[in-house]
Symmetry: C2
Subunit: 701 residues, 2 copies
């Protein structure tokens, strides 16, 4: 962790500019919290109106302090806040937290003010938190440079969870929800408008706290993806799961985010790809973060997804079986001996197959639970266990069930979760540290998340490529020219030079050349005009398919050449290319995202790519295995393996094209804005893949 962040998370001294005696006011709360929650450092209230604040000596100004504080909390607003930040920078403060609103979230003017303020702070060697933030809180040492009322509503307890959030409200809510579940929380930090320090910075710092076992993020924009990627890599290495909320998934959400924290929009599919690539699990809101927290903290890292369901309600077994399909948690096929073993312990009308329905007989025989659990524990077919008790209460020995469950968990180390909506039924399980949920959807959702996230974290990922972080202007030589696009011949040549198989073609400059080319590329041929000025040829009738003779090719040359002239487009040539038909058309695209850098898309090709999109998004670097995994998420995935007696498609060849396109845009080092390869004709396995049209766009044009 950098010294500067250390000064914010573990300050030796904190100044509060705008300190208040009233512990319910924003200027009073941080001092109150620090004193109450055991901050051992020095606290300097600054308030020229008072001699003492909350029992501490009050100072007239920052200049009057006996030392330069590590951290200054700027409570005053508007221009006073800006002045205070400048004063902090001059005084040698290491970190300044600016609470005031009315900056970047209010519009361009405020954005400029906060940018300049942050620039001056950095120049002086000071880090800036906010503005428009609820501040920082470290319950490991009581350094509470924030004012959230939630710390009063739900008393803090130090623990293994870190919360880093752009939004103060969401940091408070996550804290409150976690504490409400009895979980300890160490870090609760809000970054607000992120004029300087971002969620990525704080995540990096918190991930390096060795006591933190779960890191929760709330973002409205991913301001520094490179640092977040490095943080995620470090976290994976040390087995620290990161669960993130990225709000602003929709157009209207992004609009709302812009007026909340002045956030820039991220394309949401790219956000998904970014998180997946870096092993960060994405959920919809802080409720979902809190819901899964306890299961993460159990340290369970399941090897598989095969589920056993045990319930005292047959209906719950039915709904559980339905839900297991939805969540992709297949019911474990218990061995014959396990089934016999279970059956021998249950009444005759109970169900010994999975889901195991121990029926209402549980009411008269409390031992059924303890009898059944060891019988299934021994079965190697099971990875995950779910106990659903939708009805119990007086007459049921729930304490015994909970003991049996805790014993089972201790013996097997396998994940076991419970659903029980009755508080009296849930309590004994909770008391024994068994993650217990209000209903089956929550319980199975968390198990599925745990299994998926564990698998994702185990995937090896190349680190963020240095090339992506480097400035535009690269070793890759694009053809000379100043236009926005390369023409098709240039685009195909660039792809071919980077290992992509492209259709046989010749660029012709005369009818005679076209006539010769027709024979050379193989009949029938395609004849299409080639000009960087006409990127979308079909729209202008400049593509002729199934050209059946050399004469026809020559005639088409003349017609298209003339048409280019008529359009006022550069007459760069006419392409004569082989007609190549695969078994299925795919599209591959790549573009330079302003936030994430290179983003690659692969999906179903053909006419309706825009109208009926069926695509997967990948962030380089990736290999063919990752492409194949992405292809399996497509709607057309069943076609890859062959249906209706068709042979499987050459997925290897397609994946190689996608990898090559990804490498090409990365190699572009910022010089290529986009690559559009549509269609890629993919044949049956072994027949390869072939690009028959491509369009490369220069960056910065």
């Amino acid at each position: 962790m950098s010294d500067l962040l250390e000064s914010a998370l573990n300050p030796k001294s904190v100044a509060v500019i705008g300190a208040s005696e009233n512990i319910h006011k924003i200027g009073g709360r941080p001092i109150h919290y620090m004193q109450k929650f055991g901050f051992a450092g020095r606290i300097y209230p600054i308030n020229p109106q008072r001699e003492e604040v909350q029992g501490l000596e009050s100072y007239a100004s920052l200049a009057a302090l006996p030392e330069a504080p590590d951290l200054a909390l700027v409570i005053v607003g508007g221009e006073k806040a800006v002045a205070a930040v400048d004063e902090c920078a001059a005084r040698g403060v290491k970190s300044a937290v600016v609470i005031a609103s009315g900056f970047g979230e209010a519009g361009e003017e405020g954005r400029e003010v906060q940018r300049a303020m942050a620039r001056r702070a950095r120049a002086a060697g000071m880090r800036l938190y906010g503005p428009n933030t609820q501040g920082l809180a470290n319950f490991g040492n009581g350094a509470i440079a924030g004012f959230s009322t939630m710390f009063v509503e739900v008393p803090p307890a130090d623990g293994p969870i870190g919360v880093v959030s752009q939004s103060g409200g969401m940091s408070a809510m996550a804290y409150g929800l976690l504490r409400g579940r009895g979980l300890g929380v160490r870090h609760v930090h809000a970054t607000g408008n992120e004029a300087d320090v971002t969620v990525s910075d704080m995540a990096w710092a918190v991930a390096h706290d060795p006591d933190v076992k779960l890191l929760l993020l709330y973002l409205e924009t991913i301001a520094d993806p490179e640092l977040l990627a490095r943080t995620a890599a470090y976290a994976r290495e040390r087995g620290l799961p990161i669960v993130a909320v990225k709000a602003g998934r929709s157009a209207s959400g992004q609009k709302a985010a812009s007026s909340h924290t002045g956030s820039l929009a991220n394309e949401d599919r790219a956000v998904d790809a970014f998180f997946r690539h870096h092993g960060i699990w994405r959920v919809r809101d802080p409720h979902a973060q809190a819901l899964a927290a306890e299961a993460y903290l159990k340290g369970w890292r399941p090897e598989g997804r095969r589920l056993v369901i045990i319930s005292n309600s047959g209906a719950s077994c039915v709904m559980g079986a339905d839900a297991s399909e939805e969540f992709g948690l297949p019911l474990a096929e218990l061995s014959a001996s396990t089934r016999e073993n279970v059956a021998s312990r249950l009444p005759g009308f109970a169900t010994a197959t999975n889901p195991i329905d121990i029926t209402a007989a549980l009411l008269s025989n409390s031992g059924l639970f303890g009898d059944v659990l060891p019988a299934v524990a021994a079965d190697p077919a099971a990875d995950l266990f779910f106990i659903n008790i939708p009805v119990a209460g007086a007459g049921y020995d729930v304490e015994a069930f909970a003991n049996d469950t805790a014993r089972f968990e201790a013996a097997t180390g396998k994940p076991v979760v419970v659903a029980a909506w009755q508080a009296s039924v849930a309590a004994p399980f909770k008391a024994r540290g068994i993650p217990t949920f209000g209903n089956e959807t929550e319980a199975l959702g968390v198990l599925a998340q745990l299994a998926s996230h564990t698998a994702l974290m185990r995937e090896s990922h190349a680190p963020w490529p240095e090339a992506l972080a480097s400035a535009p202007g690269s070793a890759l030589a694009l053809p000379q020219g100043t236009g926005r696009f390369l023409n098709e011949a240039q685009s195909l040549a660039l792809l071919a030079a980077h290992g992509v198989p492209v259709v046989a073609h010749q660029l012709c400059r005369s009818a005679a050349e076209a006539r010769d080319a027709w024979g050379a590329v193989g009949a029938p041929a395609v004849v299409k005009a080639c000009s960087a000025d006409v990127p979308h040829k079909s729209e202008h009738g400049l593509v002729a398919l199934r050209v059946g003779s050399a004469d026809a090719a020559a005639a088409l040359f003349d017609a298209q050449w003339a048409k280019l002239a008529a359009l006022g487009a550069a007459q760069e040539g006419v392409l004569v290319a082989a007609m190549h038909k695969g078994r299925h058309e795919f599209m591959v695209g790549a573009r330079l995202d302003p936030v994430f850098g290179p983003v690659v898309v692969v999906g179903d090709g053909g006419t309706y790519v825009e109208a009926l999109p069926d695509v997967a998004v990948l962030l380089p670097p990736f290999d063919t295995a990752e492409v194949k995994k992405a292809l399996d998420t497509l709607r057309i995935a069943p076609l890859l393996g062959g249906v209706r007696g068709e042979p499987p498609l050459d997925v290897e060849a397609l994946a190689a094209v996608v990898v090559a396109v990804g490498r090409l845009i990365v190699a572009g080092g910022g010089s290529i804005a986009s690559i559009d390869v549509n269609p890629v004709m993919v044949g049956a396995a072994g027949e390869g893949a072939m690009v028959v049209d491509a369009l490369v766009e220069r960056a910065g044009t």
Copy 2:
């Protein structure tokens, strides 16, 4: 309501066969409950071992009773239960509730025993509930012919909700969840194995209780769809919403259901179509039923889906905007005057557009809520209101917010719901009858459900057609034959006779006829063998496309004729048909479902109908408007209106085909097992639709 059901729900006298003094035993609980919950009728404990049970005179047998009781509760098990039921029938009991398990859910033998038991009961004029049921409970009159422990866990209160469930566990859970939310519940009935009385019977009876304002069902099979359809029609007429859980959505769920209540499988897409057709809303579990109950009971019937979000958290506004898109609740476009009005009441840095972010300024100015609400109430653009308070507590005047909200609701009558996870924040809203949820997903989910269900209940639906209920054997004359399929010529003729446009074709019996037909139908033509023995012609190479000459047609006749002989198939002819190409291929199918009767499917056509299904299911009777609504749910829906400069498709013509196919299978009256129309070539608007291949399957072959 029938007298027999009346005898169960409002009995004048109840006998308990197997009565117990112990109020914790199954034989003791019903008597205890009836005495405790105010049953005013006569209770007859039957226990030969005792003179008195729970202070009541005990009888040695049913025969010893002074009268034939309206209702008998059979607590004894196994063969004793069967004997008791027979005794009840002989004694003139009107309704017998059989608790014992080990019948239909245990296998075929048990199914036969319960069938016979029910048959004897019905013959004697007695209705049978169960076996394998937790029984009935009517808290309107204290008639509790059941033993659920949940009535002890959560004390009952009479109210406007009826619960009818196959599963006793789920009836108890729904009851408990509803009561836990403070809602009154009158009916809690479980039907178990449904040897006689089904959920449909009970739903019909409960729907006729005028005090019931919300009817919740739990089903594992839809045993009597005709009665459930009539119940739904009656309920819609009187404005009674029905919200149903149908478990066994998946293959493994249906397997589990079979060993739970011995339920038969229903095809799940047909279940969805059935519920939609009859205005029943389907949810995943009793938690979802309980979640939405209060909003239903408010009596809100929203006219539209346009949402206003108000929060004191900017992040919640962002996530709310995201969620509004997901739930299909567009953010209301507030008028300029509303926005100005709102802005004038908020601090400068707050957001006066929708979502309205009143910011943490709420902490210092509790009046903001009351100021903003009337400003938006006046705007006619808003149908639904959502207030999200993710952070509050000490210092916030939550009582005032709740008062303002209640006043707003009283003044506008518009739906307004709240999300607040802190119990202290939620309580004042709940106390004022505002539906209050733990999070935004729940709150918006319920609003969306209310809006969708209200719209669905307003749709006019034809009643269950009498034809569907009638026995097989109909007025429709299928061509003579005993084979499973009609041949293609017969299939096309049947469709044409029922108003479906079919491709021009001629059935040829000689090469000469084929030669003539080629000219007559219009070149190029399709030549395909026609034999009821070869329903899938392509697989045998018996379809030739783009036949370009009369000679070729004649030659193909000879080849296909010979091939039919080689296959040992009846040589019924060779079809020469026009090649008809539309703009898009659709598929239309119909089949006779064993439970629901005729079921119609329409969807994307082409090669991958099975591998990549994109279909909608409809239950007859329906009109073209309903078909068009169903088409809008398809993945390919964007193509209907035309994309990429293409003209819109002739949706009217396609819908007419679907309606005609539905009418045809209904007219079949059980004689047609299935109709497979693939493809239907659909042209641009005005160009019509044309069936180019069809296959009709006879029932009972």
